[in-house]
């Protein structure tokens, strides 16, 4: 056994340096949009700001800045024990008092290193709230600083954000020295940058992802983590809404425009998350759509002009609707007179009820049955017509190593490193 262990050690030692994690290097990323606001829900804020707790891919709470917590029987009093030795990016220590100062609406009490949160009403889902709440403080110069693995070195106006490694990160210094993020790049330009090796990580559209794969590039695809849906104005005619919903040929769009990525959606939550999505029918019924469309007024369908796939989907919906005798006019941007718009919502929660709540604010569900009933109620008047559950797709440069995002595409750049001798 001992001999075997030495033998393995010798083999590992002989592996090229490129296969072993090492420190240094600047990661170049291109994205369409990103925000450093602590409250923003995107992939960038967790790089700079920690939470008290996080949730694992299996929806289990994980310690973060809080290493332990407990609550009373009626969930009105919560105690969080903070991780010791954590420092903000400006060098200030993380204290319960500093954290409590950021919880304005919740009664927060500091007891040594323990943060006590009290509420008048039971708060059984407090961990979910805290898992989406960045911990930060305002420094003496007015800037916002966090405790995350990276600190902001340049993030002013413009399309370039530069993050540097937090040497004192409580989880250990990231491998990367810095991360340069260029925002405002559309998918086509990102694909071009990726082809020209001007970026290490880019977002890819469905067509670009196929092309990149064909060209031997590395592509990472998440499970379907966002919902593309049609959302009608409440004042619109329900018959027209139903006619449009029934006229859409989801399968063809999925095959061609989405290059078979993601899945056609009839429900709000994807099958892998809810388990009941198959109960909703997204089948096309052109005959019924024609009956409903008789005498219908034209529909204006707004889409995100920066997303070429969305534009094509909107145009395809117009072509499908035309078959049913409906006039649907795609319109770039949020037209004030639009009857409907294409919306894309990201599913950030592994928890069913929480995920449904994030997709349809105000909706709660404590069980799969309740979630199904709530979803059914949401869909019955066709104000929301689910179209597709879409994955997040990233192109990874050849030198990128250790890319291990969360299940829904959340970046975890503290584990990423760059191979020095990558081609």
């Amino acid at each position: 056994m001992r001999h075997t262990a030495w033998l393995l050690f010798a083999i590992v030692s002989l592996l090229p340096a490129a296969t072993r994690p090492h420190y240094g290097g600047t990661l170049r990323m291109k994205v369409r949009f990103a925000s450093l606001e602590p409250g923003a829900e995107n992939n960038l804020t967790p790089l700079v700001f920690d939470r008290l707790v996080t949730f694992s891919d299996s929806a289990q709470p994980q310690p973060a800045l809080a290493i332990a917590w407990r609550h009373d029987a009626d969930f009105k009093r919560w105690e969080f024990q903070l991780r010791p030795g954590v420092k903000f990016h400006d060098g200030a220590p993380l204290t319960a008092a500093a954290v409590a100062a950021e919880f304005g609406v919740v009664a927060a009490v500091v007891q040594g290193d323990t943060l006590v949160l009290r509420s008048q009403q039971p708060a059984p889902k407090l961990l979910h709230i805290l898992a989406s709440s960045s911990i930060f403080k305002r420094s003496a110069d007015g800037s916002i600083v966090g405790t995350g693995p990276f600190r902001i070195t340049s993030g002013g106006p413009g399309h370039r954000i530069v993050l540097a490694a937090n040497e004192d990160y409580w989880g250990g210094r990231p491998y990367l020295d810095a991360v340069e993020i260029e925002t405002g790049r559309n998918l086509r330009d990102q694909a071009l940058d990726f082809d020209l090796n001007k970026a290490d990580i880019v977002e890819l559209g469905f067509t670009e992802a196929r092309r990149a794969t064909q060209n031997g590039k590395r592509v990472w695809t998440s499970p379907p983590v966002s919902l593309l849906a049609l959302k009608f104005e409440a004042s619109s005619d329900e018959r027209v809404r139903e006619a449009v919903a029934l006229s859409i040929d989801r399968a063809t769009i999925h095959n061609v425009l989405l290059q078979k990525q993601g899945s056609p959606a009839a429900g709000i939550l994807p099958q892998w998350l809810s388990g009941y999505a198959f109960l909703f029918s997204g089948a096309r019924d052109l005959e019924r759509a024609r009956q409903l469309a008789h005498g219908a007024a034209p529909v204006t369908l707004a889409y995100d002009p920066a997303d070429a796939t969305e534009r094509l989907i909107a145009e395809r919906i117009a072509v499908n609707a035309r078959e049913a005798g409906l006039v649907v006019r795609p319109a770039a941007g949020g037209s004030p007179v639009s009857t409907a718009r294409l919306v894309r919502n990201r599913i950030n929660w592994p928890d069913l009820g929480q995920a449904l709540g994030s997709m349809a604010p105000g909706t709660t569900a404590s069980s799969p049955e309740a979630a199904y009933a709530a979803e059914r109620a949401l869909l019955q008047d066709y104000q929301v017509v689910p179209l597709f559950h879409l994955p997040a797709i990233y192109g990874l440069g050849a030198r990128v190593r250790g890319w291990g995002p969360s299940r829904w595409g959340g970046w975890k750049l503290e584990g990423v490193w760059l191979a020095a001798d990558a081609p």
Binding site: T207, R210, Q214, D249, T252, N255, V256, L257, Q259, K260, L312, E315, R316, A318, V319, P330
Partner: protein, 582 residues
């Protein structure tokens, strides 16, 4: 209208017609010439368009062939999953500079469409039919786009890889850019009507600069071509258009090409010619009028002189001479006129002389007749007196007394006769004063009352009480009326009815004396007012002459109506008031 005016009008009309006709012929000839030129220019342009169209067709075929031969499409043909090639048509269109590129399966299902990317999977049967037919030329196609239906020039090629094949269709849109690429001579323009819907649509008409503002004006011409399915021409504003139908693969009318040629230059020239014609015409007319004025003056002057001379003759001045020296018909007419007046003057002098002799003879006869009647008793009386003196002295005194009385009576008669002649010769001018005709009538009728009764003549007075007074000499009127009444009584020796009327007619006072006597013949009526003419055994023939003289001196008129056996009516018309003054 005078003869001169008529002549002037005739001249003017002749000049006007001549000048107008000349201007019309010149304008029409010029217009015809320019329109032939215009037609030739249009024909040249149409030929140019055809060449350009054919060149575009060849270009479409060439570029489509280039795409088909690129090798990319063979790979797509082999693939069973065409989803990855959704963007291929757009890339090919951009590379070849084509507006339209479509890849389809052999049954027409769209694999990729540059012009309508979202239409993948739907069928384009036109492409399938064209591709299957093997037609290599570019043809007109009705092309549906997301926002519109347009017209395109499209060629289709088949790309085969083994047993598998696909079609590629490439083309240009026939829109304003296509029209703008065709060079046209100045003053000409080309429009294209895309006949893509049954009813006329102004938006379907486009020119090189976009839809024309006056598209509606083209509707009649376009409708005509649509119904007749053949070339037609028409005018729109100042442009003339030749409209040619363009057909698709299945002989359907897909477009109408309109080549317009501005007629502004032609119209401007025509207007200039017309204005020039009018100016020349006006000048010609004015000159013609001036010449006509001069000519008519020359022509009509002798005629005018002749007319004036004729007027003089009509007025009684027979001794009129026309001084015309021309040797034409007018000169001959003037000479004849002068000869005529000379003859008339001579005849009148002869007539006057003979009438004078006749009058003297008549006078002498009347005098002899009038004087002979009293002279005979005088002679008898004197012879009786002499015989009594010589043979019967004792009876002489008695005879002398009776004889002297008779002598005195006859001498008085002679004196009366002489006085009458004297009076007629010395008729004084009327002394006018406001005179009531009715009063005069009543006065005269009173004087003859006894005579009327003696002759059993019934008097009837029909007097207009509202008759206004006339300016007249009452004594002369009295005498004239008395003469007429006495004449009437003479005409009714066995009694009858004497009617005297007064009244008004056309502003004149009327006095009528009617009898129921024997009446007069026509000849008697004509001579009735001649002096010394009488129908009576013992008349002097001066009564009616005196009446006519009185009436004439008052500016009046006397007439007679009579028929034998039906009596006579004398009618005197006197003008009322001051107007009766002569």
């Amino acid at each position: 209208m005078t003869f001169r005016s008529k002549l002037l009008v005739a001249f003017a009309v002749t000049v006007l017609v001549a000048v107008g006709l000349d201007s019309f012929i010149v304008a029409e000839t010029t217009r015809d010439h320019f329109e032939r030129l215009e037609s030739r220019r249009s024909s040249a342009l149409i030929a140019q368009f055809r060449r350009e169209f054919e060149r575009r067709q060849e270009e479409v075929v060439r570029r489509t062939g280039r795409m088909a031969a690129s090798g990319v499409l063979e790979r797509i043909a082999i693939e069973s999953d065409h989803a990855p090639y959704l963007d291929e048509a757009r890339i090919l269109a951009a590379a070849q500079g084509l507006d339209l590129v479509e890849l389809t399966t052999p049954d027409g299902a769209i694999i990729s469409s540059a012009q309508w990317p979202a239409r993948f999977g739907y069928k384009d049967e036109w492409v399938a039919r064209m591709g299957s037919s093997g037609i290599q030329i570019a043809m007109l196609k009705r092309e549906e786009l997301p926002e519109e239906v347009t017209l395109a020039l499209v060629a289709v090629r088949r790309v085969s890889a083994g047993e598998k094949s696909i079609f590629i269709a490439g083309g240009f849109k026939l829109d304003k850019d296509f029209l703008a690429s065709i060079e046209l001579p100045e003053g000409m323009r080309m429009l294209l009507y895309r006949n893509l819907q049954p009813a006329f649509s102004a938006q379907a008409l486009t020119s090189a600069s976009g839809p024309p503002g006056d598209a509606e004006k083209f509707q009649p011409l376009i409708e005509r071509v649509k119904s007749e399915q053949k070339e037609s021409t028409g005018s729109v504003g100042v442009e003339s258009f030749q409209a040619t139908p363009l057909f698709g693969r299945d002989k359907e009318l897909l477009a109408i090409r309109l080549i317009g040629s501005s007629r502004a230059e032609l119209l401007s020239l025509t207007r200039f010619i017309r204005r020039l014609g009018l100016a020349v015409g006006a000048a010609g007319v004015l000159l013609g009028l001036a010449l006509a004025w001069w000519a008519t003056a020359r022509i009509t002057r002798p005629v005018h002189e002749l007319a004036e001379a004729a007027g003089e003759v009509a007025a009684g001045n027979w001794n009129t001479h026309v001084d015309v020296q021309s040797r034409d018909e007018i000169g001959e007419l003037a000479a004849a006129f002068n000869q005529m007046t000379r003859h008339l003057t001579e005849q009148r002098e002869r007539l006057v002389q003979s009438e004078r002799v006749a009058a003297w003879r008549e006078l002498a006869r009347r005098l002899a007749h009038e004087l002979k009647n009293p002279l005979f008793p005088l002679q008898i009386t004197v012879e009786n007196m002499r015989r009594a003196h010589d043979q019967y002295p004792e009876q002489f005194d008695e005879v002398f007394r009776e004889g002297s009385a008779t002598l005195l009576t006859e001498l008085a008669n002679l004196k009366v006769i002489i006085n009458r002649f004297s009076d007629f010769s010395k008729m004084p001018p009327p002394e006018r004063q406001s005179t009531n005709l009715n009063e005069i009538v009543r006065g005269v009728m009173k004087l003859v009352e006894a005579q009327l009764a003696a002759q059993s003549v019934e008097p009837r007075l029909e007097l207009d009480a509202s008759l206004p007074a006339v300016e007249a000499d009452p004594a002369q009127l009295h005498r004239a009326l008395q003469n007429l009444v006495l004449n009437a009584l003479d005409a009714m020796p066995s009694g009858g009815v004497l009617t005297v009327r007064t009244g008004r007619s056309n502003g004149s006072a009327i006095l009528e004396i009617s009898d129921t006597g024997s009446g007069l013949t026509k000849e008697e009526c004509e001579r009735l007012f001649t002096p010394y003419y009488t129908t009576k055994q013992h008349g002097t023939g001066l009564g009616l002459a005196i009446v006519q003289s009185v009436v004439s001196d008052h500016g009046g008129r006397i007439s007679v109506e009579s028929e034998p056996g039906r009596g006579s009516t004398f009618r005197i018309e006197l003008q009322n008031g001051a107007s009766s003054h002569r």
